[in-house]
Amino acid sequence: MILSYTHTETKPMLNRPLNFAATQPALPSLKTATKRSSFLTIEGVSKVYPTRKGPYTVLQDVNLTVDQGEFICVIGHSGCGKSTLLNMVSGFANPSSGDVLLQGQRITKPGPDRMVVFQNYALLPWRTAFENVYLAVNAVHPHKSQAEKRAIVRDHLAMVGLSEAADKKPPQLSGGMRQRVSIARALAIRPQVLILDEPFGALDAITKEELQEELLKIWNEHRCTVLMITHDIDEALFLSDRLVMMTNGPAATIGEVMEIPFPRPRDRALIMEDPHYYTLRNQALDFLYHRFAHDDE
């Protein structure tokens, strides 16, 4: 593992909510000295893919720091490298240059501390909802007793309202229910960072709003750091603390980061009545459809 240099002005980690850290499984201890106190750092990151026509730069010089417990949404036109950026946090891709650091340690490969809710759910169709979640819990807590592990699974299925459907297999579940299982699986292993790649993109509007509210409720209770890709400005405004807007590719980067100051817990109806909501919404729309309008849209 690559450790950063010990600087003289090294500060201890500040404001780490203990309730969350206490529930952490036996993950590698991250108490080593860090360069900076931020939780997740994306620093000068570029991603270049070699192609037949020469190198293709997807991302160029991306910088972002995320505090622990923050809810970040990433928005941008398709092909702007949002997924590539999040893949470098989850560890499925490595940056061509620059660093992605979680608590000062470079991310090199996927791990359960950065759990992903995949775009198409990625549930195993031959396992029931319960067994799908159990697979994850069992992988992360191999030494817990079976009764404990089953209790964790049951709690998390109940949390997403799926106690009834626990013994059904994914092909028997609706899209919304599958995504709930996927979210339950991700939360059941108590990740430090939860990565969601357009989780609600394939769902109908009503299911989508329900799931947004459930996700927010669960997040309010657990406060893990969330990185979420979305195409939906309203979704981002409702859920996130900060909205990261990407410029168009190739060589995309972060164009603007918008603070979303609405107090939590949030109420959709109240937010929608706030005039500031429309200021922010117009600002985001302006960014996406005027300043960085997609060529073919």
């Binding site: 359960p112 195993l124 169709p125 994850a136 092909p171 292993i189």
Partner: protein
């Protein structure tokens, strides 16, 4: 129409029967008519002297063959056994060779499917060897193994292993990235990955291979036994009957072979339906 006369049956078991008949008649009548038509044309051809091959009725009219038909379980020692025992001996060999093929085919298939380098090294060899006909393996097996019994089992093995191996490897390669990504993010151990993701995901492909292979294995045993002399088995039985010109015995034995082959294929199809249903997405 026969359907009308049966429909009036009032009693409960009969009623059930008529119900079954009404539903299944369209599935039963055409194949029965097809088979009867085929046998009739065959019988006419041989009765009219168009071919020297005896008609299907000879199975009953020929006295030796009738004995074989009526007493499949007789055992007079040595090679003189009823057709049931002959078939069973062949099936035993198929079971051994096929089990070996399944074991080797699935394990090597997984290796080849997960290791692209091994695949590159071995694929040309596999593609070449699988084109070799079962009969061509017989002399090689006899020279290499010296004895009839192991040679027959080797011929089964070498004929049926390729579809299992190639389908397993393909099944492993076709595992959706999503499933592998779940394994990666959860950092599943190798054993957990094999048991919980690789095997279940590749199972439909493995079963396709197993089902193709069972048919090939049965074809191969007949071919192998025909060439290997002096063993109990339905293949050698046919060869023996041919040498002594008992043609109707051959016809009866062929009916056994066809029926057993059909049963083996149905059994595999049933297993596939139970263990790896295709309704999975």
């Amino acid at each position: 129409m026969t359907v009308n006369t049966v429909r009036n049956a009032g009693a409960n078991p009969l009623g059930l029967l008529s119900n079954f008949w009404r539903k299944q008649a369209p599935n039963i009548i055409p194949p029965v008519l097809g088979v009867l038509g085929f046998l009739t044309i065959w019988q006419i051809c041989s009765s009219s002297g168009l071919t020297r091959l005896p008609g299907p009725l000879s199975v009953v009219t020929d006295e030796r063959t009738r004995t074989l038909l009526m007493y499949p379980f007789y055992d007079l020692g040595g090679l003189d056994k009823g057709l049931f025992w002959q078939t069973l001996a062949s099936l035993g060999r198929v079971a051994q060779g096929y089990s070996l093929a399944a074991l080797v085919g699935i394990s090597v298939g997984i290796l080849v499917g997960t290791q692209p380098l091994v695949n590159k090294a071995l694929d040309p060899l596999f593609q070449f060897l699988r084109m070799v006909a079962p009969l061509a393996w017989v002399p090689i097996a006899l020279v290499a193994l010296q004895q009839n019994q192991p040679a027959a089992i080797f011929v089964i093995f070498v004929t049926s292993v390729w579809p299992i191996l190639i389908n397993t490897a393909e099944g492993v390669r076709q595992i959706p990235d999503d499933y592998n990504n779940v394994a990666k993010v959860l950092q599943l151990s190798r054993k957990e990955y094999y048991l919980n993701i690789l095997l279940p995901a590749a199972l439909p492909y493995i079963f396709t291979g197993l089902r193709i292979a069972i048919g090939l294995a049965w074809l191969a045993i007949i071919a192998a036994e025909i060439v290997m002399s002096g063993i109990v088995g339905i293949g050698f039985f046919i060869w023996d009957a041919y040498q002594q010109n008992y043609v109707s015995e051959i016809i009866l034995a062929v009916a056994y072979i066809g029926a057993v082959g059909l049963l083996l294929d149905r059994a595999m199809a049933y297993l596939q339906k139970v263990i790896a249903p295709t309704e999975q997405k």
